[in-house]
Symmetry: C2
Subunit: 102 residues, 2 copies
């Protein structure tokens, strides 16, 4: 595991916190499954009010997990691939081989 800067730690914690709610995990999964873009049908897949879903989308957006672009009166979201890459990379560095020496 490489040395992490304080920024690395912050970045990782922020990305992780954004995933720390089942609804947001679902949203992210839904976006990955459906592809690059989705309107508020996401809300239909969740037992939550539209305004609540909108807030969860905002959290994911602020954390950098997703991006949204305007598409007429609706909004089209897609995964931000680089966030996933960053996250996977950091997680990979938290690999715990039981036989590692330090």
């Amino acid at each position: 595991m490489k040395n992490w800067t304080n920024d690395d730690v912050e970045t990782f914690a922020n990305l992780a916190r954004a995933l720390g709610h089942p609804a947001r995990v679902q949203i992210l999964r839904e976006l990955i499954l459906r592809g690059e873009c989705i309107g508020g049908d996401i809300a239909d897949t969740l037992p939550l009010a539209a305004s609540t879903v909108s807030q969860h989308l905002k959290v994911l957006r602020n954390a950098g997990w997703i991006q949204g672009r305007t598409d007429g009166p609706r909004r089209c979201y897609c995964i931000n691939a680089s966030s996933i890459a960053t996250f996977n990379k950091l997680v990979g560095e938290v690999d715990a081989r039981p036989d590692r020496k330090s």
Copy 2:
């Protein structure tokens, strides 16, 4: 990406939420760096009161990230490798290849 059960989603969100704080990321990193066991020197590496660190350790313990065993008057913590494995596995399934088709 495989289908996830609701339990998968919950499990993932719980593990992620436990990582959603810089102090806990640091603790986990410290445990990985130092090896299997560490007393409350962890607290010395953080700018937090001992009781606060203890609470963070509890969160990590409840989430399954770490285990502690009693060692005289102190306590020895170590990473729970299976949690990391689970987390890495789930994260791996959230892989977003930009050229995936659905």
